[in-house]
Amino acid sequence: MSEAVSSPPARTRSDFGRSVRRLLREPLGLFGLSLVLLVILGAVFADLLTQWDPTRINPRDRFLGPSAAHLLGTDQLGRDLFSRVLHGGRIALYVALVSTAISLAIGIVLGLIAGYGPRWLDNLMILLFDAMKSFPTVMLALALVTITGPSLTSVILVVILVNVPGYARIVRTQTIAIKSSEFVTAAQSMGASTARILRVHIMPNVIGPLVILASMDIPVVIAIEAGMSFLGLGVRPPTPSWGSILNDGFGQIRETPWIAIAGGLPIIIITLGFTFLGETLRDVFDPRLKGRG
């Protein structure tokens, strides 16, 4: 985690295009991309793909098996599971994108401060990062939810607390490696401000590999959301989430297994999709990161 990755070679637009074409030629990457697109399209066009309201309770239609009307069947309250899965995808993707973006932003800022700032501040921040990383995720989630109550915001907060130390550490290590390079000294000798050096000379060399590593963390984020919702620490009912669908089906897994399957299947699909996509992205854009993350 903490070994230095020296400044990656600069890329031009044609390099970028070549990398994208290589990504599309990799079968694993293409497969991952298709799975991710499947879930994204399902979430975006949920209202067009099904006419059922994901939260509408329909006691007469409880525990219906999969059929033409209800593609994945219905749950114990008679709600259409296909509709709930599609809308659950919105929650999952929303949490993944929002919390990853916020984690990246905070991680980059903290990492730059730790890496470029004075030594004592670096030591202090590293101590904090390591302390935060040492909390087991579930304990952290339980502790936080005791304070804030179960909600989507709590889920996002937990993900940020879990992700930030790792991102900040990567940025810090890279910053330390880059700050003594001659192009940074040259910027100092021209009179560039610290803000300019960090923004123009260091950040662009740090951000590429970090974004790739973050894309590989997205399945973990989705699993945290599903896990917290499964435990009742995440989104509140009746809002659909894959985790809560899984929990709904858990009690009746022998009698009506399709409920648990409807909750579990999308988690598997999206996890595999992002993992394959992330690994291929990493290999194509920054081969030196191979075997990390």
Binding site: S7, T12, E182, T185, S189, M190, G191, A192, R196, H201
Partner: protein, 326 residues
């Protein structure tokens, strides 16, 4: 030669702390040097690796704090000047670094790189794209290089970009750290000619740091030879090359490859290793390696002056060899 100096360095020392909490000590990377550079003049600092050349350059540029002495640039004392007050002076003094490609930010285009000084110091309404083309033209690069990235440049091209960036704000002084390092000989010549030409056109003063004596001969008006962080000899380049007076200078010059194989050579070889800065020799610090050292050399520091030697060489005459070696 009577003009007021643009840069004057007066008895400058740079100390690096070493050791832990208990055995705190310092070594002197630069151990008290003084020189002046006049407008339009090129001054060369010569010495082996580790002699303190680069440290001295960084000190002049304010990248390295000095522990003693004074540095005055255009009449302003610049040592210990805060970053904010140093900034306006940086328009007048620019520095070129050793690694031609490594001193260019890898994700910036050549156009952005050469105009970065304007972005830092303000461009007064100038069109930066036009400025980039003008600067590239000055250093002999075609305008379409503005869109390239450093890794697409050869060493010589990258060096030219570095030169363009250094002259962007029309400085009075350029400090060039090994401007020819890592370039092959023909490109070295091109870069030196470019520097000479720009100096004449723009009236630049230059401090050139190098271990390459051909470079010194080619561009420098005056030169100083550094050994263990001190100057052992300072003088006009022509005079020093014709008749070196310090034994170390003589040894360096005799080791310099000559293009004429038939020319009679009298090479002076220096025994032993460069002493560690942690344990400087007594007396004259060069006595451990000097082929002509006498008893006095180990006992007393040499006299101050342009040549710091007890027994300076005079042309044609060789002093007797030292007694402790056959």
């Amino acid at each position: 030669m009577t003009a007021a100096p643009i840069l004057s360095v007066d008895d400058v020392q740079v100390a690096f702390p070493v050791g832990g909490l208990l055995a705190r000590d310092a070594i002197l990377g630069v151990a008290g040097v003084s020189f002046e550079v006049r407008p339009g003049e090129t001054f060369a600092l010569v010495g082996e690796s580790g002699s303190g050349k680069t440290t001295l350059a960084r000190a002049i540029n304010g990248l390295q704090d000095i522990s003693q002495g004074a540095i005055t640039f255009e009449g302003v004392r610049i040592d210990g000047l805060g970053r904010a007050r140093m900034k306006p002076l940086r328009r007048r003094m620019s520095m070129m670094f050793q690694d031609p490609v490594g001193s260019l930010s890898p994700r910036m285009t050549v156009g952005d790189l050469v105009t970065e000084p304007f972005r830092i110091h303000g461009h007064g309404g100038r069109n930066l794209r036009d400025e980039a083309v003008r600067l590239l033209n000055l250093v002999g690069l075609p305008a379409d290089f503005a869109g390239r990235y450093p890794h697409q440049l050869s060493g010589g091209q990258a060096r030219r970009v570095g030169v363009a960036r250094a002259i962007a704000l029309d400085p009075a002084l350029i400090i060039a750290d090994e401007p020819t390092a890592g370039l092959d000989v023909s490109v070295q010549g091109e870069v030196l000619n470019l520097l000479n030409e720009l100096r004449e056109r723009l009236g630049l003063a230059m401090v050139i740091i190098t271990h390459n004596l051909h470079v010194v001969h080619h561009v420098a008006d005056r030169m100083a030879v550094m050994y263990l962080g001190r100057f052992v000899e300072v003088g006009e380049t022509g005079t020093v090359f014709a008749a070196p007076r310090h034994p170390y200078t003589a040894a360096l010059l005799s080791a310099n490859p000559e293009p004429d194989p038939d020319r009679a050579r009298d090479r002076i070889t220096l025994p032993a290793e460069v002493p560690s800065l942690m344990s400087r020799p007594s007396g004259c610090e060069f006595h451990t390696r000097c082929p002509w050292a006498q008893a006095k050399c180990a006992a007393m520091p040499p006299p101050a002056g342009d040549v710091s030697c007890h027994f300076p060489l005079s042309p044609g005459a060789r002093p007797p060899p030292r007694e402790d070696r056959p």
